[in-house]
């Protein structure tokens, strides 16, 4: 891991200077704030749009609806942003020649790769914290307070799922010189995982399987089994990093 510290510092500075970090934080904050709002006012919006032409009977929204809306939005917008962050991380550096510039310095290729994924994970982490804080606060204002500890744990699981999507795209970015091809792999993996998530016995152990325990934790429900999907997601991310390294260490720049 020679050079990891200096590389991570550069990656984090790049996230900031290229405005990726502020932009992602703003998008996640909007997701966080809008989710409880949508949950709270969707019945009234539908009523206003429908007028007296047809009657829609919707149950009174609850804090659980606010969380579900947040989880859905993070699962879609968040995953898309994870793919966008990871798609060019290695491919663009190879294409532009900056990877060659760095890798003739005393830097191991493992450090080069891991610093990049760590910076993406950090950006997603900061953004998830901001989104979670915004959503928790608006849920408090519009509904009722959710358990703080459980909600933080839920946001951790959501973040882990996003890092898994980023790691899949990251492998694509390492294997190719095209950010678009990497994004294609990320989106394809997102769809495949979505399909596999409905397979009984399999879905629980995929990153998509983190949704159920995250919900239970956020709402303070009694039965939570998060360890299985957590372990497989962490294992998946670790495995993807190893695959990236095995491919990248043999590549000419």
């Amino acid at each position: 891991m020679t050079g990891f510290g200096a590389l991570l510092r550069k990656e984090l500075l790049e996230q900031w200077r290229t405005t990726r970090l502020p932009l992602v934080v703003v998008v996640f904050l909007l997701v966080g704030l809008s989710s409880p709002l949508l949950a709270r006012f969707t019945p009234e919006i539908l009523k206003a749009v429908g007028g007296n032409q047809f009657q829609i009977v919707l149950p009174m929204p609850t804090a659980a609806d606010a969380y579900d809306q947040l989880a859905k939005n993070l699962g879609e917008f968040g995953a898309l942003i994870a793919v966008l962050l990871a798609m060019g991380s290695v491919a663009t550096e190879k294409e532009r020649g900056t990877a060659a510039f760095i890798l003739v310095k005393p830097v191991s290729r493992a450090a080069f790769l891991i610093s990049k994924l760590a910076a993406i994970a950090a950006t997603l982490g900061v953004a998830t914290v901001i989104a979670g804080a915004g959503a928790w606060f608006y849920t408090l204002v519009l509904f009722e307070p959710l358990p703080v500890g459980g909600f933080i744990a839920a946001m951790f699981l959501q973040w882990l799922a996003l890092v898994a999507y980023a790691a899949i795209t990251f492998v694509g970015s390492t294997l190719t010189r095209s950010a678009l091809a990497a994004a294609g792999l990320g989106v394809a993996a997102f769809l495949v995982l979505g399909i596999l998530s409905i397979v009984p016995g399999v879905g629980t152990y995929l990153p998509t399987g983190l949704g159920a325990p995250a919900r239970a934790l956020a709402l303070g429900l009694a039965h939570v089994d998060a360890l299985g999907p957590m372990a497989t997601s962490v294992g998946l991310i670790g495995g993807l990093v190893v695959v990236s390294w095995l491919a990248f260490r043999r590549q000419e720049l």
Binding site: R17, L103, K105
Partner: protein, 336 residues
Amino acid sequence: MTAPTPGAVAIEAKGLTKQFGSILALDRLELTVPAGSIFGLLGPNGAGKTTTIRILAGLAQASSGSATVAGIKVGLDVPELHRHVGYLDQDPRFYSWMTGRDLLAFVGRLHGLDGQELRARVTEMLERTGLGAAAERRIGGYSGGMRQRLGIAQAILQRPTILFLDEPVSSLDPEGRRDLLELITSLRGEATVVVSTHVLSDVERICDRVAILDRGRLVTEGPLQELLDAHARPIYRLAPGPGQDARQSDLIAALRAARWVTTASVSAGTITVTVSDPAAAADEILPLVVAAGVTLDAFERARPTLEEVFLELVGPTAPDDLDGRGFVRPREATRQ
């Protein structure tokens, strides 16, 4: 940077071969670069200069053969190698969002520098490469020449024992080129410098050893002066005084008939004679002038140039040998 040990070997390549599909970019290259030398790697476009440097710098992998740089076996993921090596690409690319100072500080940190030492080294490099005034500007706004200077600064920042420069003056203006050549010359004795270029006058100015590559093969290698002495044929320039047209014609005819003359031509009143046998020419050229009754205003035995050596060894490139990019077509592996 520790001073190179006299007589030590900085770089050694044994049977270095690089194949891209059926194309043989480098063909069993044998190369020894003494420590402390400024070593010119010459050849036409497509000769294998950049491939050689990329393999030695650990950016590309040889198909076969091996090489050591600073005693370390080269390979793709060898951080230890890069503690000793500085490298400048022919088209250096950096992060456009960084300033020049940011980039050098980043490179310094990668080499383990920090604190006051890092700041001092960065400032020194910025001044040494004439980028002090542009240090706080984003690299995205730098000209090609400024990027090249920044490339030099980052390559020598950690005071490497071995420095690879791939076409370092390609995008510099005359002043920048002069400054860079002076900078390279100033590294003599401090580092081993390998410079690839096809600007032969630059090589003559700064290099003490050269290797000439052609289509992936080493044509020759050795000390510059030995190479000039061994390969270059002297050129004689004779300037007859005015009003001797008939005698001058006789002299040219006599020169062309001599077995040691390759060519004899007249241009702007000066007779230029290229020779195949320098010893015979030295003995016989003036007696021929005297025999023709020609009086001379000037007589010169011109110093042989590296360009002549290069053309003698590599020869002019035929249009059929060039690909669409102006590169010499490489050898095909099956034809070796």
